[in-house]
């Protein structure tokens, strides 16, 4: 019996337990359910849980324990089903009118709720451990000095690779900067206009329209960068282009990826800043307007300084988004790892290298593949740091005006 059918059988057994348990509770009470401590259905659920949870745990344990994996499925079926039936009989015997079935059931449910909540922690631990483990393997094969302080990224599947994160980090930061240069002014001014000037109608139309940009999958932006923005820039800055200059040789470039990523981040910056600007108390605006300041003077000299910490937090969150963004740079940024200031040159980022090192045909135990985990861990630490700082700033800011 396959694991799937075994699970199904256990499920059916526990459902059966619910029905029998309920009937037995009614019968031990002599048909008068008022004599029972809990409602009859709780006795049913009590039996169901007693059957289901241990049997399923046993099955999962069996599936993930390596030595038991080899054993044929026949004994597994007998052990699991045997335990399920045994538990059913035992729990049925335990049913008396005094059994606090509801309390028992609620304890189990609470346990399940706690388990679900701790999954978030488990995920984080999983992320950190899985990457730490492989990163350690990587540093066993490759010098950590070269990874952190080297200057070249030149993977070479015959060995002798130079795998330094610095050129990748430079590309990542450069592209993110371009993206922020596009999204912060546009997003911030849009937020200011929407929260301070626009009437309810304009706001009701333009805000959701702008937010559509945030709902578009990143693969769409990637394609837009590769097939539309890149060629457009090439036709402008490339040889024989509109400007008559020869500054660009390929469609993938820092500017291509940065521009498109900037578009993607506009609604992100604008809706965060919008919330933050709205949190500035109206009394502050009235004070300024009452002194004869114009609206823009009020915004520039009172509202924005008051909202500044929150806006900085929002920009940091946007920066963390930009650093971790993958599809746009995979398709739009190119693959050259180098230190350059030319925004029209192709450059590569941490995320693109993670994708290319892990999707190549390389040996999984080679440093060229394992470096992806070290890159991933660095990326995780980097974005986590930015997020923690940003969330802290935003939270303190909110509390200030609550």
């Amino acid at each position: 019996m396959s694991a799937f059918w075994l699970t199904l059988t256990v499920l059916v057994l526990s459902a059966l337990g619910v029905v029998i348990g309920r009937a037995r509770a009614v019968s031990v009470a002599g048909g008068d359910v008022r004599k029972l401590h809990s409602l009859p259905k709780y006795y049913g659920i009590f039996v169901g849980f007693t059957v289901l949870i241990p049997s399923l745990l046993l099955l999962i344990l069996w599936l993930v324990t390596p030595p038991l994996e080899q054993v044929s499925t026949q004994p597994r079926m007998f052990v699991v089903l045997g335990i399920a039936v045994l538990l059913m009989v035992l729990s049925l015997i335990r049913i008396t009118p005094d059994l606090r079935a509801r309390n028992a059931v609620e304890r189990v449910v609470l346990g399940l709720l706690i388990t679900a909540a701790s999954l978030a922690i488990l995920t984080t631990i999983g992320i950190v451990l899985s990457m730490l483990f492989e990163t350690r393997n990587f540093f066993g094969l490759h010098s950590w000095k070269d990874f952190f302080f080297g200057l070249k990224w030149a993977p070479n599947f015959r060995g002798d690779s130079e795998l330094s994160i610095l050129p990748l980090l430079w590309g990542t930061i450069y592209i993110s900067l371009v993206a922020l240069l596009v999204s912060v002014p546009i997003g911030l001014f849009a937020a200011i206009y929407l929260s301070e000037y626009a009437g309810p109608k304009t706001r009701g139309v333009s805000k959701p329209l702008l937010e559509i940009l945030a709902g578009i999958p990143t693969i769409v932006y990637g394609l837009f960068a590769l097939l539309t923005v890149g060629p457009l820039l090439l036709r402008t800055f490339g040889s024989g282009g509109l400007l008559g200059v020869d500054w660009m040789t390929g469609a993938t470039a820092v500017l291509t990826a940065g521009l498109v990523m900037g578009i993607m981040l506009i609604p992100f910056v604008s809706s965060l800043s919008d919330d933050i600007i709205n949190a500035v108390p109206q009394a502050m605006r009235d004070g300024s307007l009452g002194l004869g300041a114009t609206k823009s003077e009020t915004i520039r000299q009172v509202v924005i300084p008051a909202a500044l910490p929150g806006i900085v937090g929002a920009i940091l969150l946007a920066a963390s988004r930009a650093i971790g963004e993958t599809m746009i740079v995979v398709l739009g940024a190119g693959a050259l790892a180098k230190f350059s200031l030319d925004p029209l040159e192709a450059m590569t980022t941490i995320t693109t290298r993670i994708v290319s090192q892990l999707t190549g045909d390389g040996d999984f135990a080679s440093p060229e593949t394992l470096v992806a985990f070290a890159l991933g861990l660095t990326l995780f630490v980097l974005t986590l740091g930015l997020n923690v700082i940003a969330l802290y700033i935003v939270r303190t800011y909110r509390e200030q005006y609550e």
Binding site: L223, K295, R300, G324
Partner: protein, 441 residues
């Protein structure tokens, strides 16, 4: 301290004029910013639909093919095993002959060799013919009308993607062939029409962009979404109920909360690395399987669902809980009987938005191997739907974007239209749910 210059309110002084000009400028920046954002949106949508709608139309060639007995079944025994021995190469002469006869029938003159003539057809034509013959052996010897896909270049010519100028360096098509296409077009042997198999069909090799479709990857996405729904919704709701209703205020709860808000901002590719390391390398789940994709996306979507579920639980006023507790319900009963049903619309809205986010996510799927192959086989059972290698919609789009043939680019844009239709539908349902059941306390 009174103003030395007594001025009238009815005349604007120079300074006020300047300040008002600054005000107008500032306002204009705001309008310009919103205009820029909206212009980007329009540009994006125009690009997508302008370039992608073509993928829903395809060029077809209708030919009468003589199923010659001497080529397909030399002995005339109609023995299926024997007929199967004839490979697709054996069918090529039939196609050449059919094409030649059609040209003669319509009096189209060309000095192209018959091989070049038949090259107007998709490379899938021979296989299509063979499948038909194997299914209908009794038709051998007859002449049957077939509708074949045209070659991607011919298709591109009809969609203005391929022009007489652009084929100068193209080995797979030449001007004489285009002349022939023009003539066949006039004779209505070639025509462009709606192509359902782009939506329902499987991916095709990079030699046959005209035959590639989204159908199989759509199934892949579907099975992934099933996994996400089955796991993320119950786990997310359970976690939210615990944190919102039962969790004591202590440092462990604080850590869980900070953790969740940070997980929501972890780059999606990191979840891909986690999936690769844990589900594939440690637990040995099959690579490229929608099950693994679903698990990874579940972990990614959980924080979103938890955050929105907690918000809707929070919006249920405490008086409801007090009322339930007041009539003797246990805390658990008050939550499950009263609070949860009231919060349900909000929870479903959040779940749909989370699912939409997961549906469009690509980066983690690259790492667990849902790209780099041709997703050509539709799953034949539920188990194979979860466990057999498959692609997903966004991964399929990425795959096409990487195949350096403009015919595939068109399909990538077309795939985006399909993906967006799904996302728009899901978000519309979420908005309707919210409007319909929104409750003000």
């Amino acid at each position: 301290m009174s103003n030395p210059l007594k001025t009238s309110l009815l005349t604007l002084d120079a300074r006020t004029k300047k300040r008002n000009a600054a005000e107008t400028r500032f306002r204009a920046y705001g309008i310009a910013a919103i205009g820029a954002g909206l212009a980007m949106l329009i540009l994006l949508l125009v690009t997508i639909f302008g370039k992608g709608l073509g993928a829903f139309q395809q060029t077809f060639v209708t030919l009468n093919v003589p199923l010659l007995e001497e080529k397909l079944d030399k002995n005339g025994t109609r023995d299926l095993e024997k007929i199967k021995k004839v490979s697709t190469f054996g069918y090529a002469p039939l196609l050449k002959k059919a094409m030649e006869e059609t040209l003669t029938e319509y009096g189209i003159e060309t000095n192209l060799k018959s091989k070049k003539q038949a090259a107007l057809l998709s490379k899938s034509a021979a296989a299509q013919l063979r499948n038909y013959v194997l299914a209908n052996t009794d038709m051998i010897g007859e002449t049957v009308e077939f509708t074949f896909l045209a070659n991607a270049r011919v298709d591109g010519y009809l969609k203005d993607r391929v022009t007489r100028e652009s084929i100068a360096n193209d080995k797979s098509i030449n001007a004489a062939q285009l002349d022939m296409v023009d003539a066949l077009l006039a004779a209505e042997v070639i025509e462009k029409r709606f192509n359902l198999s782009f939506i329902t069909g499987a991916d095709a090799s990079d030699q046959r962009p005209e035959a590639a479709g989204m159908g199989v990857s759509m199934l892949g996405s579907f099975f992934m979404m099933l996994v996400v729904l089955a796991l993320a919704l119950p786990i997310g709701v359970a976690a939210s109920i615990y944190l919102e209703e039962f969790a004591p205020k202590n440092w462990i709860t604080d850590i869980i909360e900070v953790n969740i808000s940070n997980l929501a901002a972890v780059p999606s590719i990191v979840f891909g690395i986690l999936g690769l390391a844990v589900f594939i390398n440690s637990v040995h789940l099959p690579q490229s399987a929608p099950l693994v994709g679903g698990l990874v996306l579940t972990l990614m979507t959980l924080p979103t669902i938890i955050i929105s579920t907690r918000a809707s639980l929070k919006s249920v006023p405490p008086s409801i809980r007090d009322a339930a507790l007041g009539v003797g319900a246990s805390k658990m009963q008050s939550v499950f009987h009263h609070v949860l049903p009231l919060a349900a619309p909000g929870i479903f809205t959040g779940t749909i938005i989370g699912l939409a986010q997961a549906l469009g996510e690509t980066a983690p799927l690259l790492l667990i191997g849902m790209i780099g192959f041709i997703a050509s086989n539709a799953p034949d059972s539920v188990a194979s739907g979860f466990l057999d290698p498959n692609s997903a919609m966004p991964a399929q789009i990425y795959e096409w974007a990487k195949r350096a043939d403009p015919a595939f680019y068109e399909r990538a844009w077309g795939g985006i239209i399909i993906l967006l239709v799904f996302l728009i539908t899901m978000n519309t349902i979420a908005v309707i749910l919210r409007r319909r059941f929104e409750r003000r306390w």
